[in-house]
């Protein structure tokens, strides 16, 4: 009982243990913040990766692709493990984006990863529709916002000009000019709004077909293309990481230069050009994808890349020989049925792949991978980083242990005589040790809980803190342009936090252990003589 009383009294009367508690607080706080942010980043990254590539992928590691994919899909969809499957072609090409239609004034060319998809089935396997950036609502909102900003600007200029103007006549003139400009702006906004409200932007993205007047204006029905937001050269993100709608590439004319590869893997043919109209933009959250990928209809890509089915005809009889080449894709993506892990699905799909390979000799070697294996290089790098930083902070936490140890050593020295007194009036060595261990525990609990509190406050307000730092010091710790994601991860994982708090408390007790042992070992007579 006396132990509790003494610990309580020592806690209330001493400054020294508060420093020890502070060290524990700081370490707990640091570790929780780092684990939350980096762990959160890793989770965002991996969930994006999973959403992007489905749970399981079957790939031919040649751009020439593989045939009989429809058999693979049909067979796989019978499996209980597979919820959905979709064929895609992953290819590369040069993309020429042109503002204002085919004859627009400026063009921009860059290399892109071209994904041929069947949007409907693709959307069942991965998060496709959800990544489409623009819909009618968002467009109109942004349009109105920009129009309002321009109106304000006009008003400002008007007042400036009026202030400078000398004669009344001139003033009248200026007023008329600005009124005209304003009217013009309103008319433009009006027109754009009506135009926009005619677009089913999401639908266009989902069908990969433009409904706009522009493709018709160009004199032909163009297939649609959805480009990554960062592919669009006209975009730039503002400080909050937002994109300007007026810079969206919607309705821009896009020309792809592709390199067909035949079923034997040769690239000796002529490059193929294909013209598209941009119907939407997507933002997956993974910068690399958003900056490189464009989606086009699978059938169009197959055709341009000579990957469609072709019958072989006998030149004499002009009858099919039956030796035609089947259509090809480069990969098939699968989504696991609920309750199955990616690994289980991969195992099941592998069996189907083996069967297809047996039935179709000469088919290229197919690789079945889970999404984790697919993105291992990226996820592995980030995970390593998380591990490394955690390790570094664990080392820093040793500092907390040392801090607690030194503080407690000082306390034991200071309290040597009292320890002697307690022994003299009957306290055991064990009891003395427990006083200091309990004291260490109390300091640890206080320190760790404070650390948890501060860490929670900081992590959950990180984005606001960053905003504040940016406003006052112009400094941004998390640049959305470099970190894939707009917001700093701001969730504290309760389980991890609990472990960290327990670890901090344990560290504190460990730090108190040696001083506690020293205190217990003190000879009571010498302790009493101690000055």
């Amino acid at each position: 009982m006396y132990k509790v009383l003494l610990i309580w009294k020592y806690l209330r009367r001493k400054l020294a243990p508060m420093f020890a508690a502070l060290a524990v607080t700081m370490c707990t706080m640091m570790v929780i913040i780092v684990i939350s942010v980096m762990g959160g980043f890793f989770e965002l990254l991996s969930s994006s990766a999973q959403k992007l590539s489905g749970d399981v992928t079957v790939t031919a590691f040649s751009l020439s692709g593989f045939p009989h994919y429809q058999d693979l899909i049909d067979e796989a969809e019978k499996l209980p493990e597979v919820a959905a499957a979709t064929p895609t072609i992953q290819s590369y090409g040069l993309l020429n984006l042109r503002r204002g239609g085919a004859n627009g004034p400026t063009g921009n060319t860059k290399t892109v990863e071209v994904m041929g998809i069947e949007p409907e089935s693709y959307n069942k396997v991965v998060d496709y529709e959800a990544t489409l950036m623009w819909d009618k609502g968002s467009l109109l909102d942004d349009l109105n916002r920009l129009s309002d900003a321009r109106k304000k600007q006009l008003k400002k200029w008007e007042t400036e000009d009026l202030a400078e103007a000398g004669s009344d006549e001139l003033k009248k003139q200026i007023k008329e000019d600005y009124a005209a400009k304003l009217q013009q702006l309103e008319a433009l906004t009006e027109e754009q709004s009506t135009q926009l409200s005619n677009y089913g932007l999401k639908d266009m993205g989902m069908k990969l077909e433009p409904t706009s007047q522009r493709s018709i204006r160009a004199g032909k029905e163009l297939p649609g293309m959805v480009i990554g937001v960062e592919v669009n050269p006209y975009h730039s993100r503002d400080a909050e990481g937002k994109y300007n709608i007026l810079n969206a590439a919607i309705n821009d004319n896009a020309v792809l230069a592709l390199m067909p590869i035949n079923e034997k893997g040769d690239i000796r043919g002529e490059p193929a050009n294909a013209e598209f109209a941009v119907v939407n933009e997507f933002k997956s959250g993974l910068y690399d994808i958003d900056a490189n990928r464009v989606y086009v209809p699978l059938s169009v890509l197959q055709e341009k890349l000579d990957m469609t089915a072709a019958e072989e005809y006998d030149p004499e009889t002009l009858m099919p020989t039956g030796k035609g080449v089947p259509a090809r894709v480069t990969q098939v993506l699968f989504k696991s049925a609920p309750g199955y892990t990616a690994e289980q699905t991969a195992a099941a799909v592998t069996k189907v792949v083996k069967q297809i390979e047996r039935e179709n000799l000469g088919i290229p070697i197919l690789y079945t991978q889970t999404w984790m294996q697919m993105h291992a290089h990226l996820l592995g790098a980030v995970q390593n980083e998380v591990g490394l930083v955690t390790f570094l902070f664990a080392i820093i936490s040793v500092v907390a242990i040392v801090m607690v140890a030194t503080t407690f050593y000082m306390i034991v020295l200071e309290k040597t005589r009292d320890i002697g007194v307690l022994r003299a009036i009957g306290a055991s060595r064990w009891g003395i040790m427990n006083i200091y261990l309990g004291y260490g525990l109390a300091v640890g609990v206080i320190g760790a809980l404070l650390g948890l509190f501060f860490a929670y406050e900081i992590v959950t307000n990180l984005n606001e803190i960053q905003e504040w730092l940016y406003q006052w010091f112009g400094w941004r710790m998390w640049d959305p342009r470099t970190y894939f994601f707009d917001r700093i991860p701001d969730k504290v994982d309760p389980i991890k936090a609990t472990w960290i708090v327990i670890g901090a408390i344990a560290s504190s007790v460990v730090g108190a252990l040696i001083p506690a042992l020293l205190a217990a070992r003190l000879n009571p007579i010498e302790a009493l003589r101690y000055e």
Partner: protein
Amino acid sequence: MILKQPVLKSKQLHKHYRMGGQDLHILRGIDMEVHENEFVAIYGRSGSGKSTLLHLLGGLDRPNEGEVFFNGQEVFKLRGGKLDRYRNRHVGFVFQQYHLLPELNALENVLIGSMIGRSLIAWPTKKKQIKERAKMLLETVGLSDRMKHRPSKLSGGERQRVAIARALINEPDVLMADEPTGNLDIDTSGSIIELFQKLHEDGQTLILVTHDEGIAEVADRCLTLVQGKLS
């Protein structure tokens, strides 16, 4: 007449200290007995080994040779927590420098002796009763109005009274005082000695160590420590 067994008895106690390669033979075979209700004074010059002897008797230190018997039980053969319990329950210590715990107030300083040896669970059941006793003791030593004072707010004499109350809280069989008036002025010393006499009259067994002949005289029996031996 049946000879009563002594409460405390020592047999050929020897104590050496090593200092800088030198062997200091401080106690050279101490034989003594203390009976129930006795007031024994141990007189000796400073440095003669009085404190050393008292510490041995109270189980605070171990002799190099010899044994102390408490009610016939060999004290230094007690194992584990039993020696701690001996100090806690059967002996009460009063030191020259008071040795109160600075964080605790007078009442708590008295109570702590009783808390030691009682677990967190056992304490609450006895708390009220023991608190009453502590208050009673503080009244006995004349400090009923100083219970919530911390030691730093008390005078030397008052501190020593708190220390005496602390030593008495567990109703010790033997109260051991090591020059309890060594740091006090004459008047205060006198009142502390009176307090001891009063305790003795109430039946308390007492061993008082002093280098003051005047104080030694109030005891029933006075032993003199010279050259490591009692005479």
